[in-house]
Point group: C2
Chain length 197, copies 2
Protein backbone atom coordinates (compact mmCIF):
# COMPACT_ATOMS: atom_id res chain seq x y z
CA UNK A 1 0.00 0.00 0.00
CA UNK A 2 1.57 3.28 -1.11
CA UNK A 3 -0.76 5.66 0.72
CA UNK A 4 0.10 6.31 4.36
CA UNK A 5 -2.47 5.17 6.88
CA UNK A 6 -2.58 8.21 9.17
CA UNK A 7 -4.72 8.40 12.30
CA UNK A 8 -5.34 11.42 14.55
CA UNK A 9 -4.55 10.70 18.18
CA UNK A 10 -6.67 11.51 21.21
CA UNK A 11 -5.04 11.52 24.66
CA UNK A 12 -7.16 10.00 27.43
CA UNK A 13 -6.59 11.44 30.87
CA UNK A 14 -8.05 9.51 33.82
CA UNK A 15 -11.86 9.50 33.62
CA UNK A 16 -14.90 7.40 34.35
CA UNK A 17 -18.06 6.16 32.71
CA UNK A 18 -20.93 5.87 35.15
CA UNK A 19 -24.09 3.81 35.53
CA UNK A 20 -27.46 5.45 36.23
CA UNK A 21 -27.61 3.87 39.66
CA UNK A 22 -24.14 5.06 40.69
CA UNK A 23 -24.88 8.54 39.30
CA UNK A 24 -28.00 8.68 41.51
CA UNK A 25 -25.98 7.64 44.58
CA UNK A 26 -23.22 10.18 43.95
CA UNK A 27 -25.28 13.16 42.72
CA UNK A 28 -28.83 12.46 43.94
CA UNK A 29 -31.96 10.74 42.65
CA UNK A 30 -32.98 11.80 39.15
CA UNK A 31 -29.74 13.73 38.53
CA UNK A 32 -28.71 14.12 34.89
CA UNK A 33 -25.22 14.79 33.49
CA UNK A 34 -24.51 18.20 31.96
CA UNK A 35 -22.58 18.33 28.68
CA UNK A 36 -19.35 20.30 29.02
CA UNK A 37 -17.82 19.45 25.63
CA UNK A 38 -18.60 16.91 22.90
CA UNK A 39 -15.88 14.33 22.25
CA UNK A 40 -14.71 13.17 18.84
CA UNK A 41 -16.59 9.89 19.20
CA UNK A 42 -20.20 10.63 18.10
CA UNK A 43 -22.66 11.08 20.99
CA UNK A 44 -19.93 10.97 23.65
CA UNK A 45 -19.15 14.00 25.80
CA UNK A 46 -17.09 15.28 28.71
CA UNK A 47 -19.59 16.10 31.48
CA UNK A 48 -19.39 19.06 33.84
CA UNK A 49 -19.48 16.56 36.71
CA UNK A 50 -16.35 15.27 38.44
CA UNK A 51 -15.91 12.91 41.38
CA UNK A 52 -13.18 12.16 43.88
CA UNK A 53 -11.39 8.86 43.20
CA UNK A 54 -9.88 7.18 46.28
CA UNK A 55 -7.55 4.20 46.48
CA UNK A 56 -5.72 2.61 49.43
CA UNK A 57 -2.63 4.81 48.97
CA UNK A 58 -3.86 8.07 47.47
CA UNK A 59 -6.63 9.90 45.68
CA UNK A 60 -7.44 12.27 42.84
CA UNK A 61 -9.69 15.19 43.75
CA UNK A 62 -11.35 15.74 40.35
CA UNK A 63 -11.88 12.88 37.93
CA UNK A 64 -14.19 13.76 35.07
CA UNK A 65 -17.26 11.74 34.08
CA UNK A 66 -17.69 11.03 30.37
CA UNK A 67 -21.29 10.71 29.26
CA UNK A 68 -23.76 9.41 28.46
CA UNK A 69 -24.32 6.92 31.30
CA UNK A 70 -23.51 3.26 30.64
CA UNK A 71 -24.79 -0.07 32.02
CA UNK A 72 -21.68 -0.50 34.20
CA UNK A 73 -19.42 2.04 35.93
CA UNK A 74 -15.86 1.89 34.56
CA UNK A 75 -12.90 3.92 35.81
CA UNK A 76 -10.01 4.36 33.37
CA UNK A 77 -6.61 5.30 34.77
CA UNK A 78 -2.98 5.16 33.67
CA UNK A 79 -0.33 2.89 35.18
CA UNK A 80 1.20 5.99 36.83
CA UNK A 81 -2.20 6.68 38.41
CA UNK A 82 -2.46 3.07 39.62
CA UNK A 83 0.77 3.53 41.64
CA UNK A 84 -0.51 6.77 43.17
CA UNK A 85 -3.86 5.17 44.11
CA UNK A 86 -2.27 1.92 45.28
CA UNK A 87 -4.49 -0.16 42.99
CA UNK A 88 -3.10 -2.97 40.87
CA UNK A 89 -5.17 -2.06 37.81
CA UNK A 90 -5.22 -4.46 34.87
CA UNK A 91 -4.65 -3.47 31.24
CA UNK A 92 -7.99 -4.29 29.60
CA UNK A 93 -10.12 -3.43 26.63
CA UNK A 94 -12.86 -0.96 27.45
CA UNK A 95 -15.96 -2.84 28.62
CA UNK A 96 -13.94 -5.86 29.81
CA UNK A 97 -14.12 -5.18 33.54
CA UNK A 98 -15.16 -8.57 34.95
CA UNK A 99 -12.74 -9.61 37.65
CA UNK A 100 -10.71 -6.38 37.42
CA UNK A 101 -9.22 -5.43 40.77
CA UNK A 102 -11.36 -3.87 43.50
CA UNK A 103 -10.37 -1.27 46.07
CA UNK A 104 -11.61 1.99 44.66
CA UNK A 105 -14.12 4.46 46.11
CA UNK A 106 -15.95 7.24 44.25
CA UNK A 107 -17.11 10.26 46.23
CA UNK A 108 -19.70 12.72 44.89
CA UNK A 109 -21.57 15.63 46.45
CA UNK A 110 -24.48 13.44 47.64
CA UNK A 111 -22.86 10.11 48.45
CA UNK A 112 -20.17 7.57 47.77
CA UNK A 113 -19.80 4.24 46.00
CA UNK A 114 -17.29 1.46 46.66
CA UNK A 115 -16.79 -0.34 43.38
CA UNK A 116 -15.98 -4.03 43.55
CA UNK A 117 -14.57 -4.11 40.01
CA UNK A 118 -14.25 -1.78 37.06
CA UNK A 119 -10.92 0.02 37.44
CA UNK A 120 -8.87 -0.59 34.30
CA UNK A 121 -5.92 0.72 32.34
CA UNK A 122 -7.51 0.87 28.89
CA UNK A 123 -5.62 -0.87 26.07
CA UNK A 124 -4.65 1.50 23.31
CA UNK A 125 -7.00 1.22 20.37
CA UNK A 126 -8.17 2.92 17.19
CA UNK A 127 -11.78 3.78 16.46
CA UNK A 128 -12.84 3.91 12.82
CA UNK A 129 -15.87 3.39 10.62
CA UNK A 130 -16.16 0.17 8.64
CA UNK A 131 -15.59 2.16 5.44
CA UNK A 132 -12.38 3.64 6.86
CA UNK A 133 -11.25 0.17 7.92
CA UNK A 134 -11.87 -1.12 4.42
CA UNK A 135 -9.93 1.74 2.85
CA UNK A 136 -7.02 0.93 5.20
CA UNK A 137 -7.19 -2.81 4.42
CA UNK A 138 -8.24 -3.51 8.02
CA UNK A 139 -11.18 -5.00 9.88
CA UNK A 140 -12.65 -4.90 13.38
CA UNK A 141 -10.38 -6.58 16.00
CA UNK A 142 -7.22 -6.47 13.86
CA UNK A 143 -4.04 -5.67 15.76
CA UNK A 144 -1.70 -3.10 14.25
CA UNK A 145 1.56 -1.30 14.98
CA UNK A 146 1.44 2.48 15.07
CA UNK A 147 4.41 4.82 14.82
CA UNK A 148 4.82 8.30 16.27
CA UNK A 149 7.75 10.29 14.88
CA UNK A 150 9.98 12.82 16.60
CA UNK A 151 12.83 13.11 19.07
CA UNK A 152 11.15 10.56 21.31
CA UNK A 153 9.79 8.57 18.39
CA UNK A 154 8.01 5.45 19.50
CA UNK A 155 6.15 2.53 17.95
CA UNK A 156 3.16 1.06 19.75
CA UNK A 157 2.66 -2.69 19.21
CA UNK A 158 -0.67 -4.41 19.88
CA UNK A 159 -3.00 -1.56 18.97
CA UNK A 160 -6.54 -2.88 18.61
CA UNK A 161 -8.69 -1.78 15.67
CA UNK A 162 -12.35 -1.15 16.54
CA UNK A 163 -14.36 -0.68 13.35
CA UNK A 164 -18.00 0.29 13.73
CA UNK A 165 -20.17 2.83 11.94
CA UNK A 166 -20.93 4.58 15.23
CA UNK A 167 -17.24 5.54 15.58
CA UNK A 168 -15.08 8.36 14.23
CA UNK A 169 -11.42 7.92 13.22
CA UNK A 170 -9.27 8.37 16.34
CA UNK A 171 -6.54 6.50 18.20
CA UNK A 172 -6.79 6.54 21.98
CA UNK A 173 -3.65 6.40 24.14
CA UNK A 174 -3.26 7.32 27.79
CA UNK A 175 -1.08 10.02 29.31
CA UNK A 176 1.85 7.66 30.04
CA UNK A 177 1.90 6.62 26.39
CA UNK A 178 1.50 10.19 25.14
CA UNK A 179 4.29 11.49 27.38
CA UNK A 180 6.61 8.60 26.54
CA UNK A 181 6.32 9.48 22.87
CA UNK A 182 7.64 13.04 23.23
CA UNK A 183 4.57 14.97 23.95
CA UNK A 184 1.98 13.53 21.63
CA UNK A 185 -0.77 16.16 21.35
CA UNK A 186 -4.43 15.73 20.54
CA UNK A 187 -4.85 15.64 16.79
CA UNK A 188 -1.25 14.66 16.01
CA UNK A 189 -1.19 12.18 13.14
CA UNK A 190 0.28 8.74 13.85
CA UNK A 191 0.92 6.11 11.19
CA UNK A 192 -0.18 2.49 11.03
CA UNK A 193 2.97 0.73 9.83
CA UNK A 194 2.13 -2.95 10.15
CA UNK A 195 -0.77 -5.30 10.69
CA UNK A 196 0.12 -8.09 13.08
CA UNK A 197 -1.70 -11.40 13.29
Amino acid sequence: MSKKRLIPVGLSNRHLHISDIDLATLFGQGYELTVLKPLIQPGQYAAEECVELHGPKGFFAKVRILGPTRPVTQVEISISDSFKLGIKAAVRQSGDVTGSPPGCKLVGPKGQVEISEGVIVASRHIHMTTAEAEAFGLKDMDMVKVKADGLRGITFDNVLVRANDSYALEMHVDMDEGNAGGVIRNGDMLEIIEVSK
Copy 2:
Protein backbone atom coordinates in the same frame (compact mmCIF):
# COMPACT_ATOMS: atom_id res chain seq x y z
CA MET B 1 23.72 -10.80 13.50
CA SER B 2 22.09 -13.96 14.79
CA LYS B 3 22.62 -13.36 18.51
CA LYS B 4 20.07 -11.11 20.18
CA ARG B 5 21.42 -7.87 21.57
CA LEU B 6 19.71 -7.79 24.95
CA ILE B 7 20.06 -4.95 27.43
CA PRO B 8 18.81 -4.80 31.04
CA VAL B 9 16.65 -1.74 31.69
CA GLY B 10 16.89 0.69 34.61
CA LEU B 11 13.92 2.95 35.36
CA SER B 12 14.84 6.50 36.34
CA ASN B 13 12.42 8.21 38.67
CA ARG B 14 12.81 11.98 39.10
CA HIS B 15 16.16 12.78 40.76
CA LEU B 16 18.95 15.30 40.83
CA HIS B 17 22.71 15.51 40.59
CA ILE B 18 24.12 18.28 42.73
CA SER B 19 27.17 20.54 42.72
CA ASP B 20 29.32 20.98 45.84
CA ILE B 21 28.27 24.61 46.16
CA ASP B 22 24.53 23.86 45.94
CA LEU B 23 24.94 20.96 48.39
CA ALA B 24 26.55 23.37 50.86
CA THR B 25 23.69 25.87 50.45
CA LEU B 26 20.97 23.24 50.90
CA PHE B 27 22.55 21.07 53.63
CA GLY B 28 25.19 23.30 55.24
CA GLN B 29 28.88 24.06 54.77
CA GLY B 30 31.08 20.96 54.55
CA TYR B 31 28.12 18.57 54.32
CA GLU B 32 28.80 15.25 52.58
CA LEU B 33 26.30 12.92 50.92
CA THR B 34 25.54 9.58 52.57
CA VAL B 35 25.36 6.47 50.39
CA LEU B 36 21.94 4.81 50.58
CA LYS B 37 22.39 2.30 47.77
CA PRO B 38 24.94 1.82 44.97
CA LEU B 39 23.56 2.12 41.45
CA ILE B 40 24.41 -0.17 38.54
CA GLN B 41 26.70 2.46 37.00
CA PRO B 42 30.08 2.09 38.76
CA GLY B 43 30.74 4.68 41.47
CA GLN B 44 27.23 6.14 41.28
CA TYR B 45 24.82 5.87 44.20
CA ALA B 46 21.41 6.91 45.52
CA ALA B 47 22.08 9.19 48.48
CA GLU B 48 20.09 9.30 51.71
CA GLU B 49 19.49 12.98 51.05
CA CYS B 50 16.36 14.30 49.36
CA VAL B 51 15.23 17.85 48.59
CA GLU B 52 11.94 19.56 47.83
CA LEU B 53 11.55 20.49 44.17
CA HIS B 54 9.27 23.47 43.49
CA GLY B 55 7.93 24.78 40.18
CA PRO B 56 5.44 27.55 39.38
CA LYS B 57 2.45 25.18 39.50
CA GLY B 58 3.39 22.43 41.96
CA PHE B 59 6.09 20.65 43.87
CA PHE B 60 7.49 17.26 44.86
CA ALA B 61 8.26 16.86 48.56
CA LYS B 62 11.08 14.30 48.25
CA VAL B 63 13.36 14.18 45.24
CA ARG B 64 16.41 12.03 45.75
CA ILE B 65 19.99 13.16 45.16
CA LEU B 66 22.22 10.79 43.21
CA GLY B 67 25.89 10.99 44.13
CA PRO B 68 28.69 11.74 43.90
CA THR B 69 28.51 15.51 43.42
CA ARG B 70 29.04 16.91 39.93
CA PRO B 71 30.31 20.22 38.51
CA VAL B 72 26.77 21.40 37.70
CA THR B 73 23.44 20.73 39.40
CA GLN B 74 21.05 18.87 37.07
CA VAL B 75 17.44 17.95 37.84
CA GLU B 76 15.97 15.08 35.79
CA ILE B 77 12.19 14.79 35.59
CA SER B 78 9.62 13.11 33.33
CA ILE B 79 7.25 14.95 31.01
CA SER B 80 4.41 14.08 33.44
CA ASP B 81 6.42 15.74 36.21
CA SER B 82 6.99 18.83 34.05
CA PHE B 83 3.22 19.35 33.80
CA LYS B 84 2.79 18.99 37.56
CA LEU B 85 5.62 21.48 38.25
CA GLY B 86 4.54 23.86 35.49
CA ILE B 87 8.00 23.80 33.90
CA LYS B 88 8.47 23.42 30.16
CA ALA B 89 11.42 21.03 30.51
CA ALA B 90 13.38 20.14 27.40
CA VAL B 91 14.32 16.60 26.34
CA ARG B 92 18.12 16.61 26.54
CA GLN B 93 21.08 14.34 26.90
CA SER B 94 22.42 14.22 30.41
CA GLY B 95 25.01 16.98 30.88
CA ASP B 96 23.51 19.16 28.11
CA VAL B 97 21.78 21.71 30.33
CA THR B 98 22.88 25.02 28.78
CA GLY B 99 19.82 27.13 28.03
CA SER B 100 17.41 24.57 29.50
CA PRO B 101 14.35 26.27 31.01
CA PRO B 102 14.55 28.03 34.38
CA GLY B 103 11.89 28.28 37.04
CA CYS B 104 12.78 25.63 39.53
CA LYS B 105 13.66 25.96 43.22
CA LEU B 106 15.37 23.37 45.44
CA VAL B 107 14.70 23.45 49.17
CA GLY B 108 16.91 21.63 51.68
CA PRO B 109 17.07 21.64 55.48
CA LYS B 110 19.55 24.54 55.61
CA GLY B 111 18.66 26.69 52.62
CA GLN B 112 17.29 26.95 49.12
CA VAL B 113 18.61 27.40 45.60
CA GLU B 114 16.85 28.91 42.58
CA ILE B 115 18.37 27.26 39.54
CA SER B 116 18.53 29.33 36.38
CA GLU B 117 18.95 26.26 34.16
CA GLY B 118 19.45 22.53 34.55
CA VAL B 119 15.98 20.96 34.59
CA ILE B 120 15.81 18.38 31.83
CA VAL B 121 13.87 15.37 30.65
CA ALA B 122 16.76 12.98 30.03
CA SER B 123 16.85 11.33 26.59
CA ARG B 124 16.69 7.58 26.80
CA HIS B 125 20.12 6.03 26.38
CA ILE B 126 22.14 2.86 26.87
CA HIS B 127 25.35 2.69 28.88
CA MET B 128 27.88 0.03 27.90
CA THR B 129 31.62 -0.61 27.91
CA THR B 130 33.56 -0.22 24.68
CA ALA B 131 34.03 -4.00 24.59
CA GLU B 132 30.26 -4.55 24.90
CA ALA B 133 29.68 -1.98 22.13
CA GLU B 134 32.13 -3.82 19.90
CA ALA B 135 30.47 -7.16 20.55
CA PHE B 136 27.12 -5.61 19.62
CA GLY B 137 28.55 -3.99 16.46
CA LEU B 138 27.99 -0.54 17.94
CA LYS B 139 30.04 2.50 18.94
CA ASP B 140 29.65 5.54 21.19
CA MET B 141 26.94 7.98 19.99
CA ASP B 142 25.19 5.46 17.70
CA MET B 143 21.41 5.70 17.68
CA VAL B 144 19.46 2.45 17.97
CA LYS B 145 15.89 1.17 18.20
CA VAL B 146 15.00 -0.91 21.22
CA LYS B 147 12.00 -3.18 21.58
CA ALA B 148 10.11 -4.16 24.73
CA ASP B 149 7.75 -7.11 24.34
CA GLY B 150 4.45 -7.77 26.03
CA LEU B 151 0.79 -6.74 26.03
CA ARG B 152 1.86 -3.12 25.78
CA GLY B 153 4.84 -3.90 23.57
CA ILE B 154 6.63 -0.79 22.45
CA THR B 155 9.66 0.15 20.35
CA PHE B 156 11.76 3.14 21.35
CA ASP B 157 13.37 5.00 18.44
CA ASN B 158 16.34 7.34 18.91
CA VAL B 159 18.04 5.56 21.79
CA LEU B 160 21.55 6.92 22.22
CA VAL B 161 24.46 4.51 22.79
CA ARG B 162 27.03 5.74 25.34
CA ALA B 163 30.10 3.49 25.24
CA ASN B 164 32.78 4.12 27.82
CA ASP B 165 34.81 1.81 30.02
CA SER B 166 33.52 3.53 33.15
CA TYR B 167 29.98 2.34 32.35
CA ALA B 168 28.03 -0.88 32.97
CA LEU B 169 25.49 -2.31 30.53
CA GLU B 170 22.12 -0.68 31.24
CA MET B 171 19.40 1.18 29.35
CA HIS B 172 17.87 4.17 31.12
CA VAL B 173 14.24 5.15 30.51
CA ASP B 174 12.02 7.37 32.62
CA MET B 175 8.77 6.46 34.36
CA ASP B 176 6.54 7.67 31.52
CA GLU B 177 8.42 5.41 29.12
CA GLY B 178 8.43 2.48 31.54
CA ASN B 179 4.72 2.78 32.24
CA ALA B 180 3.83 3.24 28.56
CA GLY B 181 5.52 -0.07 27.80
CA GLY B 182 3.35 -2.14 30.13
CA VAL B 183 5.19 -1.96 33.34
CA ILE B 184 8.81 -2.32 32.41
CA ARG B 185 10.63 -3.36 35.58
CA ASN B 186 14.24 -2.83 36.58
CA GLY B 187 16.33 -5.59 35.06
CA ASP B 188 13.84 -6.53 32.32
CA MET B 189 15.72 -7.35 29.14
CA LEU B 190 14.99 -5.18 26.09
CA GLU B 191 16.30 -5.88 22.61
CA ILE B 192 18.24 -3.66 20.22
CA ILE B 193 16.53 -4.34 16.91
CA GLU B 194 18.01 -1.77 14.56
CA VAL B 195 20.83 0.73 14.29
CA SER B 196 19.69 3.99 12.72
CA LYS B 197 21.98 6.54 11.12
